[in-house]
């Protein structure tokens, strides 16, 4: 049985095509534009093309992510069910790491902490409130301020050995502190590290609300940033596992849920 999970995030749409809860046949990713349905459809088609499958061979589609309503019961994707991100995250992470108890998902706009129970069910969760500099877009803004590509931020941070405390309660305040550091001729490496530390602090703070229990997994787009993991592990004082393709875990969870629902 082939199911699909579609995670329509704030910035990217991610698709996972799954066979019998075992084989990931394809995954695909693409930017979400103004027309969410159109963007998601394009990415969905990309996934299908990678496997030469047709839409009617996909038995069930479940959508998650900020833009999930846009593809709920809307052709051609026709997602039959929509689930909140935390549910999909828990399911996906549990499938990849059966010992996982805490999942941290940091995407473009949102950070989430999820406590996972039996069978990948959600026990408790926390999502960042409005005032938070703990998401991918923050990193992009900071990269612009430093005039580097966002993919360079992590490697830069890893080169630094200096810790500069920075307030990350609010994105705007953080940016003004970065400007101050730039003007005081602090190196890009040290500034990048400060930004990563501040962001990790923000996320850690949020996760501490629900508590940290091992095993801890980090997923979402920001998990791909090598500079983010070390300060996060330090703040939470625990080892954190990053599964392969962390950005697709939500979509995987949705695909697994599609299978469960179809089985019922």
């Amino acid at each position: 049985m082939i199911t699909a999970g579609v995670d329509v995030g704030a910035k990217y749409a991610k698709i996972v095509l799954l066979e019998d809860a075992k084989n990931i046949l394809a995954n695909a990713k693409g930017i979400v534009g103004f027309d969410i349905l159109k963007s998601a459809t394009e990415v969905f088609q990309k996934a299908l093309d990678n496997t030469s499958l047709k839409r009617d061979q996909i038995v069930h589609v479940v959508a998650t992510g900020m833009g999930r309503k846009a593809i709920h019961m809307k052709p051609p994707i026709n997602a039959g069910e929509i689930v909140p991100e935390v549910i999909a995250d828990a399911k996906g992470a549990y499938h990849l790491i059966p010992t996982v108890k805490t999942v941290i998902d940091v995407g473009a706009e949102e950070g989430r902490g999820v406590k996972v129970g039996e069978n990948g069910k959600v026990r408790d969760f926390v999502i960042n409130e409005r005032c938070a500099a703990g998401a991918g877009t923050f990193m992009e803004t900071m990269a612009r301020a430093l005039e580097v590509g966002v993919e360079e931020m992590g490697p830069l941070a890893l080169k630094s050995t200096k810790a500069i405390p920075m307030n990350a309660q609010c994105c705007v305040f953080a940016e003004s502190e970065v400007v101050t550091l730039i003007h005081s001729k602090t190196s890009k490496e040290d500034i990048s590290k400060a930004i990563h530390d501040a962001m990790a602090g923000r996320i850690a703070s949020m996760v501490l609300r629900v508590g940290v229990e091992k095993d801890v997994a980090l997923i979402g787009g920001v998990a791909q940033n090598p500079g983010f993991l070390p300060p996060l592990e330090k703040e939470l004082n625990t080892e954190i596992l990053v599964p392969e393709h962390p950005q697709y875990v939500g979509a995987l969870g949705a695909a697994l849920l599609a299978l469960e629902m179809e089985a019922k």
């Binding site: 909140p84 935390v86 969760f125 409130e129």
Partner: protein, 446 residues
């Protein structure tokens, strides 16, 4: 979670209009107080309002928090109040009720219960306040300062009640005495500033009314232990408010007696507040007043909010029974006969106020919330991390901690009771519905 979707019968509350009218006339009476030679005062909802009642039958009040909440209902006016307050140099992180109230003075406007805004903010003849949170006394200190700029000198008296909470044992005599002495001095002060002779009989009446009104409200809240719940929290706000504006008045007692009888009848006949009640929650701290539709959104999931320690214990008086049940506080043995008896009685009555416990002991509030969870058969707790009120949000993280340790599902959400800019309705609804879904509840209807 077993998904049996029952459908309970529902009915509008019969005394709903009376509640509306009582509140409407309250704001009008304050405005028109001088027309018939009456006296009007301003102060907090927790001010010992039974004391100024001794000045006569024509004494009217404007309590600050309910007025601040009224302003918050009407977002256009709220925005103007905020603008005015911020332009005057006050930080926007201050208590939201207080900023709304000052805004009203700065704009020189007065808003009525139905949202009608009239010119000229009616200055009080005196301020009678109590102080427990950092802002209480200062709120009216600034209000007085603002009135002075408009040429009006308003005398102010503020009673300090920060003596602690009788959690496991009664408060020491010297603490009761401390508050009693301030009230006693206060009576003399009232005579001085109004030039009126104080009537101890009126005081005794007012104190006895307050004790009865607060007991009746607790009784009414207790009825919500029934399944299905006869009342939902959103409706309760329009009913408990009477206790915040006139708990010492005979009309309040009469209204609560009527309401109690009606709710008892609803319980007998199994009338529900929410037709498809299948998940019971309580909330905490004031709600985001400008966005009460979140309660209606909850109902689409079959979720009913039964109330909160805030709705029950802000006005209602409760005490732990020897068997560990949390119940209506017992009536004192008899009505007070003298000034001293009345003052002492109202102090001893008031220090048990449940909503005063957490100012000192977070564990006391957690205990009471857990009692509500148990006795009212509550499935989850929604905590409003209220940026607009540090007084009621103090120690809220500890309460969350305590509830989670006890195995109660908790959903915290940030917001502001009185500043609409700080409440993200869509974001909160998205998170709230995620919470319900994680509890296994799917939406029942649009």
């Amino acid at each position: 979670m077993v998904e049996t979707i029952k459908k309970f019968p529902t009915e509008q509350l019969k005394c709903w209009n009376e509640a509306k009218n009582l509140r409407k006339s309250y704001y009008e009476n304050y405005l028109n107080a001088h027309e018939k030679g009456g006296v009007r005062w301003a102060g907090g909802a927790w001010s010992f309002s039974s004391i100024p009642a001794g000045l006569g039958e024509d004494v009217y009040s404007l309590t600050g928090e309910p007025y601040g909440a009224t302003i918050a209902f009407f977002k256009d006016f709220t925005a103007k109040c905020h603008e005015a307050t911020e332009a005057a140099g006050f930080p926007r992180t201050l208590c939201a009720y207080m900023r709304n109230y000052w805004g009203s003075i700065l704009l020189d406007k007065y808003i009525l219960a139905d949202g009608k805004v009239i010119d000229e903010h009616p200055a009080p003849d005196f301020i009678w306040q109590d102080h427990i949170c950092c802002s209480h006394g200062k709120w009216y200190q600034v209000a007085r300062w603002l009135e002075e700029k408009k040429g009006k000198k308003v005398p102010m008296y503020c009673v300090d009640v920060s003596v602690g909470y009788p959690m496991d044992k009664p408060l020491e005599e010297y603490k009761i005495n401390y508050i009693f002495q301030q009230l006693n001095d206060g009576v003399e002060w009232l005579e001085k500033v109004t030039g009126r002779e104080y009537d101890d009989k009126l005081l005794c009446e007012a104190v006895w009314n307050e004790i009865n009104a607060t007991r009746l409200w607790a009784d009414i809240c207790t009825l919500n232990q029934a399944v299905p719940a006869p009342l939902d929290e959103k409706s309760m706000y329009s009913l408990y408010v009477m206790g915040t504006i006139m708990k010492h008045r005979p009309e309040c007692v009469a209204f609560y007696e009527k309401l109690k009888a009606e709710v008892e009848d609803r319980v007998r006949r199994g009338i529900a507040a929410v037709a498809n009640e299948r998940f019971r929650v309580i909330t905490d701290t004031q709600p985001p007043w400008g966005f009460l539709r979140i309660f209606r959104e909850m109902e689409k999931y079959g979720v009913v909010s039964l109330g909160s320690l805030y709705t029950y214990g802000l006005i209602g008086m409760w005490k732990y029974r020897p068997d560990g049940t949390w119940a209506t506080k017992d009536l004192p043995p008899r009505k007070p006969q003298t000034r001293e008896e009345a003052l002492r009685m109202i102090v001893e009555w008031t220090v048990d106020r449940p909503e005063w416990a957490h100012f000192y002991l977070p564990e006391a509030k957690t205990k009471m919330m857990l009692s509500i969870v148990k006795q009212w058969k509550v499935d989850a707790v929604l905590l409003h991390y209220n940026r607009g009120c540090e007084g009621l949000s103090v120690h809220i993280a500890e309460n969350r901690h305590g509830l989670v340790e006890a195995g109660v599902p908790v959903f915290p959400f940030e917001g502001n009771m009185g500043d609409e800019r700080e409440f993200d309705l869509l974001g909160t609804l998205a998170r709230l519905t995620t919470f319900f879904e994680s509890m296994g509840l799917k939406k029942l209807r649009e």
